[in-house]
């Protein structure tokens, strides 16, 4: 299904969609306030963007440096060209360790690779330990937001699924009560898991370490209790130096949730005695995106989710309407690079308002890339023009589209067409909007009479 259909469906539940819009706006507002409390905020965005430019220009060099240093620190480094190889590598480690149950903290990359169903198919129980992710996992859903995975759900929904899965009291919707129930449930999982999987926020070439940020502490609970830590990292997550963490960590949490830093920022450099750390470096389309000059900047993304919180479309259509692992504006410029046909409606799910670009902590020109994807998609899909032509045929857009041929054509048409047609289903503009009243003469006509 395309984005407009999904969006219209999301908007059917007016109360819920309004809540979704207002809740995410509140998060953006917190981000606005905290970003304005940092005098050098715009300076930091410039620095972050420039560091990422340098990363993209030297990606190979930094990856090799990272690998060398990580290996020297006793970290096992694996390379995966695509999702399938990534999943195979992870499964291979689990099989070697005879591990049948793992805990996993938030990792958009493993979502992108569809690791969970793959492991489950191969007899491994996967427990997502981020509370929001555990909730959506119980419901057999994907996260609808990369930072706030369960933002599409109300506490009533969560109370119901917890009652079913964790035997909490029926009807008890208290967030403290529900979170406590999840804590007890997940504590058991943490204590029994031999392998823990995490994502990676930053990999540092200079030291071979990687950094994971959480508020819940779930990544650390998992890895420090397990014997083996597998970290899955997109190759674009590399940064040159440890000092650069200072720039990115000042931006990340403030942009994501409006807090000054996540409560836990963990730097993994080498395993504890007797334990193992594996890191899987994943391409899965990233080198292809790097080779697209107009779109390579999308690889600067640090997955803060600020563009989702600010996007007036995302807030009113929900994450699932995008049908891609990373939803929202950044997803709409990443996903077409992975599957142009499947995601062709996404670059059009925007008014090009530019708010995403202005909140982006690494200054990705998101709305400009949306515009550029549109140019690509119309070339790849000639049929698009026909469906668009149908929608604009009777509405206000007939003016610019017909103007080149004859300035007066549409004025004529509007006058001739009876209301029954201009306001019928054929005219998308007029379904829920009145057309402007037609003046007796155009400006051009007025000017001829009054100024020449």
């Amino acid at each position: 299904m395309s984005h407009p259909i999904q969006a219209a469906e999301f908007l059917q539940d007016q109360a819920k969609s309004k809540w979704h819009d207002e809740t995410l706006w509140f998060v953006r507002d917190k981000r606005d306030k905290i970003s304005k409390s940092v005098p050098e905020w715009e300076n930091l965005r410039d620095l972050a963007s420039q560091i990422k430019d340098n990363v993209l220009a030297n990606l190979g060099k930094y990856l090799e440096e990272f690998e060398k240093n990580a290996k020297a620190n006793n970290i096992h480094v694996h390379w995966a060209k695509d999702a399938e190889e990534h999943n195979r590598i992870v499964l291979g480690i689990l099989q070697e360790k005879r591990c049948k149950a793992i805990v996993k903290s938030k990792s958009i990359l493993t979502e992108e690779c569809h690791l969970n169903p793959y492991l489950e198919k191969n007899g491994v129980e996967v427990v997502d330990t981020d509370l929001g992710e555990r909730i959506v996992q119980f419901l057999n859903q994907a996260p609808s937001h990369i930072v706030l995975p369960a933002i599409h759900l109300k506490k009533k929904d969560i109370s119901e699924i917890f009652h079913e899965k964790l035997h909490t009291e029926k009807g008890n919707e208290d967030p403290d009560y529900l979170t406590h129930a999840a804590r007890i449930h997940l504590r058991e999982k943490f204590l029994s898991a031999k392998v823990a999987i995490t994502g990676v926020n930053f990999g540092v070439a200079e030291t071979g370490e990687f950094v994971v940020c959480t508020n819940e502490g779930n990544a650390d609970m998992g890895v420090h209790l397990a014997d083996v830590h597998i970290a899955c990292m997109g190759i674009e997550k590399i940064i040159p130096k440890r000092a650069h963490l200072g720039v990115f960590l000042r931006l990340l949490a403030r942009s994501a949730t409006g807090q000054s830093v996540t409560n836990y920022t963990s730097h993994f450099r080498s395993p504890s005695p007797g334990k193992e750390i594996h890191i899987v470096l994943v391409d899965n389309g990233r080198t292809a995106q790097l080779a697209r000059p107009k779109f390579k900047n999308s690889l600067k993304c640090i997955r803060c989710g600020a563009c989702m919180n600010t996007c007036p479309i995302y807030r009113r259509s929900g994450g699932f309407s995008y049908e891609s692992t990373v939803p929202g504006p950044i997803g709409s410029i990443l996903s077409p690079g992975i599957d142009l046909q499947k995601h062709s409606s996404l670059p059009f799910a925007s008014t090009l308002c530019g708010s995403c670009t202005d909140v982006c902590p690494v200054k990705i020109n998101i709305h400009e890339q949306l515009y550029e994807w549109r140019q690509e998609i119309t070339k790849a899909q000639p049929d698009r023009a026909k469906s668009l032509a149908m929608k604009i045929a009777n509405g206000v857009f007939a003016v610019p589209f017909a103007y080149n041929l004859s300035g007066n054509m549409m004025r004529g048409a509007l006058k001739i067409l009876p209301d029954s047609i201009t306001y019928s289903g054929l005219n998308t503009w007029g379904k829920q909007r009145d057309l402007p009243e037609l003046p007796k003469e155009s400006f051009k006509d007025w000017y001829k009479k009054n100024r020449k």
Binding site: I313, R374, P400, S442
Partner: protein, 252 residues
């Protein structure tokens, strides 16, 4: 030569020409009242923005060539639309053989309020407009041309439209809850994502209504056409005027 003695071309977006001639007239009269010599080149057509934003920028080469030819000999080009000006500056395809003219055009084309504040250097306009006014910051003017500070950025607040209007006698400037949220017009987005477009428009109107706005104004008739269309359909009594109309009425 003072800026207002230079030769100014009026660029009137196609839908303004067709649907809102009064906005074009107000723009012309306003500039004339401010002492400008203004000409409306008759041969002008649509700038090509709706096509380009729909993904057909490549089909606007002829339109763009024509646009450059029509406007290249003027000192300034002024339009009552941030959106169309932004298109000409940033998205119109590069025309081989007209590089110089095109680059000059990018430097001399202005949206109306920025022309008044940045070129004519008008601090504020003297006049009277005793109404409670809500300002819709259209996105392309807002974040494309930077006509006012973006709520997303950590920058010193400014607003070119407010600067021009706020000292008008009797005018009550309204601060909105979401001062620069998109209205959902978005060109063909208005029809390709109709449900969202309508919802966004309704939400914008609700913000203005909650602040008891009497007249909703802005620098782009496209957004206003969309908001007005929704307001009219729903019996919402709020009135709509382009900022050119307000300024022109205020000083007469």
């Amino acid at each position: 030569m003072p800026e207002n003695k230079k030769h100014i071309a009026l660029f009137i977006p196609c839908y303004v020409d067709q649907f809102y001639p009064k906005v074009a007239i107000a723009t012309l009269e306003l500039l004339e009242k401010l002492g400008c010599q203004v000409t409306y080149p008759m041969g002008q057509t649509c700038c090509g923005q709706p096509m380009a934003n729909a993904g057909y920028e490549r089909d606007t080469v002829a339109t763009t060539k024509h646009f450059i030819r029509i406007f290249k000999d003027f000192d300034y080009v002024v339009a009552p639309s941030g959106s169309c000006v932004l298109h000409v500056k940033e998205h119109a395809p590069a025309i081989a053989g007209m590089e110089k003219e095109q680059s000059e055009l990018h430097d001399k084309i202005f949206e109306l309020t920025e022309f008044l504040t940045d070129v004519l250097k008008i601090e504020n306009i003297k006049g009277s407009f005793p109404h409670r006014v809500g300002y819709h910051a259209s996105c392309h003017g807002q974040r494309g041309l930077r006509l006012s500070a973006s709520s997303e950025l950590n920058q010193t607040p400014f607003n070119k439209a407010k600067q021009l209007m706020v000292n008008l006698e009797g005018l009550e400037w309204v601060e909105l809850k979401r001062k620069d949220e998109c209205c959902g017009f978005g060109g063909t987005f208005a029809v390709s994502e109709e449900a969202l477009s309508i919802q966004m428009g309704k939400d914008r109107l609700a913000d203005h209504q909650a602040q008891q706005v009497e007249i909703l104004t802005g620098g782009d008739m496209s957004c206003i056409m969309h908001l007005q269309g929704i307001a009219k359909r729903n019996g919402n009594p709020i009135q709509f005027k382009h900022i050119a109309e307000i300024l022109n009425e205020a000083i007469s």
